[in-house]
């Protein structure tokens, strides 16, 4: 298969509006991936499927990844005038990379028997703007897996034919695979709680001290 650089150049020729970035992979045997902007995601995916040299007709794996806000520290040298003498001082600069949700597609070609090609799309943030184009109209195989990503991560796929929860039940609130998800308290009722179970029990029920039994 062609290198990611070649594929990127050909996509840019075919879909001029596409903004594509090649992401490095530090693992030697792993594949590098192409990050595509959500707006042009569907057009790029259609190009990848229909292009005669690629023919990525098989969408094997669809998955979500949660990247919360991350504090990046960077050491920079700053020139400062200290007591009339110019000195170079190292300063630690902290920047916050805003969090986002990412959807990863692993594409193969059954006809030409090559792959994988890794396509990624990112949402704007993790709270309100978590919409991405659905690729189910191109590959039916993404249908259940995109539903799973919606169910567990909360990515809304625009254009999905049947976007419902799939593994959790419909009334469930929250997205359990997000890294800041807090699981509900694991508490079991005991008739006579004591020690740490009593502390837990007070959170769940107002435990009244029992009235003394009259003789």
């Amino acid at each position: 298969m062609e290198t990611p650089e070649q594929i990127k150049a050909r996509i840019e020729a075919a879909v001029p509006s596409a903004k594509i970035e090649i992401l490095a992979n530090e693992c030697a045997l792993g594949e590098r991936s192409l990050l595509v902007e959500a707006a042009s995601g569907f057009a790029v995916a259609r190009f990848l499927r229909d292009d005669a040299q690629l023919k990525l007709d098989y969408c094997s794996n669809v998955t979500g990844v949660d990247w919360p806000d991350k504090e990046l520290t960077e050491k920079i040298k700053v020139k400062q005038v200290v007591d009339g003498v110019e000195k170079e001082i190292e300063e630690v600069k902290k920047t916050i990379r805003p969090g986002f949700l990412e959807v990863v597609y692993h594409l193969y070609s059954m006809e030409l028997k090559h792959g994988p090609f890794v396509l990624r799309m990112r949402t704007e943030n993790r709270a309100a703007k978590t919409h991405l184009p659905s690729l189910t109209p191109l590959w039916r195989g993404a249908e259940f897996q995109e539903r799973e990503v919606y169910d567990l991560y909360g990515v809304f796929f625009d254009g999905h034919p049947d976007l419902r929860r799939i593994l959790m039940w419909d009334e469930f609130v929250g997205f359990p695979m997000r890294r800041d998800y807090v699981a509900p308290d694991d508490f079991e009722y005991e008739p006579t709680p004591h020690d740490e179970v009593l502390v837990e029990a007070r959170k769940h029920y107002q435990v009244e001290p029992k009235a003394e039994v009259k003789a």
Binding site: E26, G30, M110
Partner: protein
């Protein structure tokens, strides 16, 4: 957990059947098949809308066995996930182990010794034999042959499970493979016993085939039922025997040549019609090919170590990066996707389950057939709910 259980599904509902102008001309019956139904192979539910006995709509409902396997995998070390992978597809713990070990080896750049590669192939092919045998047993049971054919299949499966037990200590939850090899070596006596089981297996397949392959009832219930076209199979990411029954020659043992599969002489059976009978036949032929691979592997297995001396099990921290690894499981492509951030636990641990994705086209295959055929079609998909729901 103080979670509120989902509302129990309604067991049935009657809906009006309308003609094109919208006037009612009869009734449609919506029934909930499962989750506790012997034909669903576990806790699986189908919301079926019936016109008489004909299926007009079918929606699969999952999640009754969901335990968020992937979240568990993110909170424990790489090695600690190995026994959990046994519980995905509990018929095929050996291939699940292999898929996970293969992915981590790719991530960390570990080599696997010769002998361990051969042992892995032997284990994977034995798993394929017992999975396909059981599946055929179940699926004949779905057609109404209660008990006896399944017991024939389980009798043979026992022999393979005995082999697994003697080498790994467990019959189903083997937890046998490790990153860079396998946990314990097999001895010569085990090889002799396995050779005997493999030699007898062809006879069993002949016998089983005599009962089923040209059986009039099997033919009537399976031919031209649940047909899936080649185009739909590719587009819907169907893998494994289901895909090959639809006429696509795509077997990861040939395409990826993972492990040492390029050394063996075997063929990939491909179907023509994509119906249930082809799916049955593909599995029978695949078992014959597995026997060929097993004979070659048992003949050629070299001596030597079974673990890469450089791999360490404790304090295992692969460098940052991400990989996707996949093997040809008995049910289809089983993939693992791992992202490492350099810590002892994976940042992202994803399982690509074959039977979950293969269920995508269940509705397309069942529409227009009778409810009794829907049961057999589901049986021919070969699902295990431990893997579907994860």
């Amino acid at each position: 957990m103080n979670t509120v259980a989902a509302m129990p599904p309604k067991s049935f509902e009657v809906k009006p059947k309308l003609d094109e102008s919208g006037t009612p001309i009869g009734e449609l019956l919506e029934i909930s098949m499962g989750p506790h139904h012997p034909s669903t192979h576990g806790v699986f539910r189908m919301d079926v809308v019936l016109d008489g006995e004909t299926v007009v709509k079918l929606k699969p409902v999952f999640g009754y066995l969901h335990r968020n396997h992937e979240k568990i995998g993110e909170n424990i070390s790489y090695l600690a996930s190995m026994p959990y992978t046994d519980r995905l597809d509990y018929f095929c713990s050996m291939t699940n182990n292999w898929a996970y070990a293969l992915t981590v080896e790719k991530l960390a750049g570990l080599a696997v010794p010769e002998r361990a590669e051969y042992i892995r192939v032997i284990m994977a092919e034995l798993t394929r034999l017992q999975n396909h045998t059981c599946l055929i047993g179940f699926f004949v049971q779905d057609m109404g042959a209660l008990g006896t054919p399944m017991m024939y299949a389980f009798r043979e499966r026992e022999k393979i499970l005995d082999l697994f037990e003697s080498v790994s200590g467990a019959r189903m939850m083997c937890n046998y493979m490790r990153f860079g090899g396998v946990r314990v070596d097999v001895n010569d006596e085990w090889i002799v016993q396995t050779k005997k089981v493999v030699a007898d297996y062809s006879k069993f397949l002949d016998e089983f085939g005599t009962f089923l392959t040209e059986n009039e009832i099997v033919l009537a219930r399976t031919q031209f039922i649940g047909v899936m076209s080649k185009e739909l199979a590719i587009n819907a990411s169907i893998t494994g025997p289901m895909l090959r029954a639809a006429g696509v020659n795509y077997d990861l043992r040939k395409v990826d040549k993972y492990g040492i599969y390029d050394r063996f002489n075997f063929q990939v059976p491909v179907g023509e019609h994509g119906d249930i009978y082809d799916r049955y036949m593909i599995r029978v032929l695949e078992m014959r090919e597995s026997i060929k691979i097993l004979e070659q592997a048992l003949r050629d297995i070299p001596t030597g170590p079974v673990m890469d001396p450089k791999s360490k099990l404790r304090g295992f921290r692969p460098k940052p990066g991400e990989v996707y690894g996949r093997v040809e499981g008995p049910k289809g492509e089983l993939g693992f996707y791992l992202i490492s951030d350099g810590s002892p636990n994976p940042y992202r641990y994803r399982v690509r389950p074959p039977s979950f994705v293969n269920l995508t086209v269940l509705e397309d295959m069942c529409l227009g057939h009778r409810i009794s055929d829907a049961v057999v079609i589901l049986g021919s998909v070969d699902i295990v709910l431990g893997e579907v729901d994860r």
